[in-house]
């Protein structure tokens, strides 16, 4: 008996160890870290090495950068920013002085981690299965350098001529004091003249800037880290204003500011970066009084924000992969009669007029076998001020959803309609009803405005410091069968369409989100509390009964069968 048990215990213990091992082993496997820095310098450049690079370039790079390396590949003219023209030897992201050639390690960093917010993606084989290993990256860099004769000139070599910009030796950690010092420098060095006081790229000098290639460039909104091409860490930001961004109006501040000042400035810029929320349900704040009808009402402070990421509308022709609005932030407030939803998004320029004559004829790009169903970045639509309106639309399912089934996120379909609350800046500016309620049944036909007597959404908007804030307000429920109905305790699907007029956006040339939800909490039913109290009482009574049984049974085996 005793021996048996001991035998059993050994088994138990073995089982425990085996389970622990099974549990812990996957935790030990750490994914490979990103390596923007090479283990070894570029290998010796031989003909064979260049041939290797040429083949990689042909397979992976030429379709954007062109067979000649001039940035004119088949996919190039649909992209903004344009793919780099390698033949000029001008590179934006360097650790060398303004106007100098990049170091090999700079090109390695760009190829490895890509340029966020552009078509240039990371090619680090440790991060991406079909990326390039270190030797392959060096080979393609060696080949890319053959496009620009400048790289052969020893006198232009930034390393040999001592034109390298180093990070400051003394780099104090991120702190409120450092950020405050950085902010002072941001104001003193007049960074805000282009980037705007809030860093949203909305400074007075910021429209219609052109780069050395004649393409329009937009001043960076430094608060969106996913769009910062040169990297969003303080070290990366430091390099941008220490080296300048060649070919663009971004100068080097290496003479104007000392190392410590630039480091503080980098940390201030870092502090402006937005942290995205991660939830997908917009919780509606319940209020007893009136719901706010204006964007600056104090009540909004108490509502929980939800960030919504948007992508270019690439689902149906005409396709658009250069969206300007990539994130909107939503808040919602409701009482027992009305709901108000506030949408805010960064847009450095207020566009409050609309010229329909300049709209693209969408039917031209909606044909099978069209050369390309994407809209060209620069030549097909005007991207200028005072052309198209800024605009935003909230999209809901027109009918209550059953289960998880919803209309398609791009305007629904003929069998599943969506309702749009479409706010337009030009209407707001003209003092008209600024929100139009419309119904869409698929992307092929434009949304159809509902009848005048069924327009029940009130809109109010302000544009300030490079940001639109729009409030849309309506009764929770209506009589119209095409209207979304807000019922507490139900998940209401919600998606966003957005247009930046001066980015050429109108019609399906827009950015959009997939489905999120709005949710109004239903009051907790009284039955919940009854169940809780009942369960506590039952469990407590059961415990006391067990105590009695245990106390009364003096003989062991008898009690166990009773219990």
């Amino acid at each position: 008996m005793r021996r048996d048990r001991k035998h059993g215990m050994v088994h138990d213990r073995f089982l425990v160890i085996a389970m622990l091992a099974a549990l812990l082993s996957p935790l030990g496997a750490v994914p490979a870290a990103a390596k923007p820095v090479a283990d070894a310098p570029m290998p010796e450049v031989t003909d064979a090495f260049l041939a290797e690079g040429e083949e990689i370039y042909y397979r992976r790079c030429s379709f954007c950068h062109g067979l000649l390396g001039d940035g004119e590949g088949p996919a190039a003219k649909y992209l903004d920013p344009r793919p780099r023209d390698f033949t000029l030897g001008t590179f934006k992201f360097r650790t060398t002085q303004s106007g100098e050639l990049p170091q090999d390690s700079d090109l390695f960093r760009t190829v490895s981690r890509g340029l966020p917010g552009t078509g240039m993606q990371a090619f680090d084989g440790d991060l991406i299965k079909n990326g390039l290993d270190e030797r392959q990256r060096w080979a393609v860099i060696a080949y890319i350098k053959t496009f620009a004769p400048e790289f052969e000139d020893e006198e232009l070599d930034p390393v040999k001529t001592g034109k390298v910009v180093a990070l400051p030796a003394n780099r104090p950690a991120f702190s409120p004091e450092l950020v405050a010092k950085g902010k002072e420098i941001f104001l003193r060095a007049k960074c805000w003249e282009c980037h705007g006081k809030e860093g949203r790229g909305n400074g007075q000098k910021s429209f219609d800037r052109k780069d050395d290639w004649g393409f329009p460039i937009r001043i960076r909104n430094v608060t969106h880290p996913w769009k910062i091409k040169g990297g969003s860490e303080a070290e990366d930001i430091y390099m941008r204003f220490s080296t300048g961004i060649s070919g663009t109006p971004m100068p080097s501040f290496v003479k104007a500011l000392n190392e410590d000042e630039r480091w503080a400035l980098a940390n201030f810029i870092k502090s402006l970066q937005h942290k995205l929320t991660e939830h997908q349900v917009l919780a509606v704040l319940p209020v007893d009084g009136e719901v706010p009808g204006t964007p600056d009402d104090g009540v909004w402070e108490q509502a929980q924000p939800m960030d919504v990421r948007l992508a270019g509308q690439v689902v149906a022709p005409p396709r658009w992969q250069n969206p300007s609005i990539e994130m909107v932030t939503l808040k919602a407030v409701a009482n027992d009669r009305e709901i108000a939803i506030r949408i805010s998004w960064d847009d450095p320029f207020k566009d409050a007029s609309h010229d329909e004559d300049q709209e693209l004829n969408a039917s031209e790009l909606t044909k099978v076998g069209i050369f390309n169903s994407y809209v060209e970045a620069n030549d097909q639509v005007p991207r200028a001020l005072e052309t198209f309106r800024d605009s935003i639309a909230l999209q809901f399912s027109a009918k209550p959803i059953s289960g998880s089934e919803k209309p398609h996120f791009l305007r629904g379909s003929s069998s599943a309609a969506v309702q749009l609350w479409h706010w337009m800046a030009d209407r707001e500016e003209a003092g008209e009803r600024s929100v139009v309620e419309a119904v869409a049944r698929g992307w092929r036909q434009p949304p159809k405005a509902q009848a005048d007597d069924q327009q029940g959404v009130e809109g109010k908007a302000v544009w300030a410091d490079g940001r639109w804030t729009v409030v849309m307000k309506r009764a929770l429920t209506t009589e119209d069968k095409n209207d979304v109905q807000f019922v507490p305790g139900k998940f209401i699907p919600l998606a966003v369409n957005a247009w930046d007029g001066s980015n050429g956006e109108h019609g399906r040339i827009m950015s959009l989100s997939t489905w999120y939800y709005v949710f109004i909490v239903a009051p907790t039913p009284v039955s919940v509390y009854i169940y809780v109290v009942a369960s506590i009482l039952i469990m407590g009574g059961f415990g006391l009964w067990l105590v009695r049984v245990a106390r009364n049974s003096q003989v062991g085996t008898g009690a166990s069968t009773n219990a």
Binding site: L68, G73, K129, F409, V528, T561
Partner: protein
């Protein structure tokens, strides 16, 4: 042996907890290793419940198998209930357990803001039309007549490139410094073809391999123009537009994606897109376009050819009926 004796009661409790942990966290962790996906595959709640019921039954059977076993299991409970450990411990258990039960009931019944869960089947076959199943990519394995025609085109310096790549090729031919106007494809099969072309003795096999290179070249260009914004340069589902879609574009380099399906299925997916999916595949969340409204059949097949090549995968062979 000097090991610590933990009575029957505690070994039952520990086994229960460990098995729960193994199912709840162990299986997802192992799944990540096995599937190579960047996220774990969780075990559904109902399945966890089912497993734990089985575990409970097994533990109950083991415990009640003999009177001695039962007695050993019940002893510490009885000692606790009689207050033989300490009166405070008994009181604590008698208060804490009902409160825990109350909290569980509250948690189960109170309305919560929680995303409605939706299960999604990645590769539904419920409405995959049979006629697509047997389809073969005509550009992956060109026939003899096509290869011969291609040789004739090459000899006459009149290779028919798709319109989308013509401009880049022409600029290369005019501004580049290469002797051979076709040398812009630097791969081995193409070089061999150019060499045989120069010697005037092109072998059929060489020309076939070269024609495949041409199709891949065109397919890659079309991929870069049409698919790259979402699926990415490295077909890893990480294109510049990918972050905007809650249901992310598929990563073709993952195991269990395009290599587990037949080419005809891929063609159908590209052709009919998200709206062509059945309900179990949540078509309303899919950003996959209906490419039949924009791309020709030839373009779609060439893209599929390039996509498999970039992903370094081969399609599943259709089962013969």
């Amino acid at each position: 042996m000097g090991m610590l004796r933990i009575g029957r009661f505690w070994s039952v409790i520990i086994t229960f907890v460990l098995l729960y942990a193994l199912i709840k966290w162990g299986i997802p962790a192992v799944s990540r290793e096995v599937t190579d996906l960047p996220f774990p595959l969780p075990v559904p709640g109902t399945l966890i419940f089912f497993y734990m019921v089985l575990v409970t039954i097994a533990l109950f059977l083991i415990t009640t198998f003999s009177d001695e076993g039962m007695e050993e299991f019940v002893r510490p409970i009885r000692k606790l209930l009689r207050g033989e450990y300490s009166k405070t411990a008994r009181a604590a258990v008698l208060i804490v357990v009902p409160l825990l039960a109350g909290w569980q009931v509250y948690d189960l019944t109170v309305p919560k803001i929680e995303l409605p869960s939706s299960l999604r089947i990645q590769h539904p076959s419920s409405n995959f039309p049979k006629k697509f199943e047997e389809l073969k990519n005509p550009f992956a394995n060109p026939g003899e007549a096509e290869v011969t025609a291609f040789i004739e085109q090459a000899e006459a310096e009149e290779i028919a490139w798709i319109e989308q790549v013509q401009e880049d090729i022409e600029r290369w031919q005019e501004e580049g410094d290469a002797d051979n106007p076709l040398a812009f494809i630097p791969t081995a099969p193409w070089k061999k073809f150019l060499a045989e072309l120069e010697d005037g003795d092109v072998k059929l096999a060489t020309a076939k391999a070269a024609l495949l290179e041409k199709n891949l070249f065109e397919g890659r260009a079309l991929y870069a123009m049409n698919c790259r914004p979402c699926h990415g340069d490295s077909v890893a589902g990480d294109g510049p537009m990918a972050d905007g879609f809650k249901l992310r574009p598929i990563n073709f380099t993952d195991n269990g994606t395009i290599e587990t399906i037949v080419e005809g299925y891929t063609f159908w997916r590209v052709r009919n897109g998200g709206p062509g999916l059945p309900t179990e595949a949540t078509p309303w969340d899919s950003a996959m376009p209906e490419w039949k409204v924009s791309l020709t059949e030839e373009e779609r097949w060439k893209i599929i050819l390039a996509e498999y090549d970039l992903a370094e995968k081969t399609p599943r062979i259709p089962e013969s009926h």
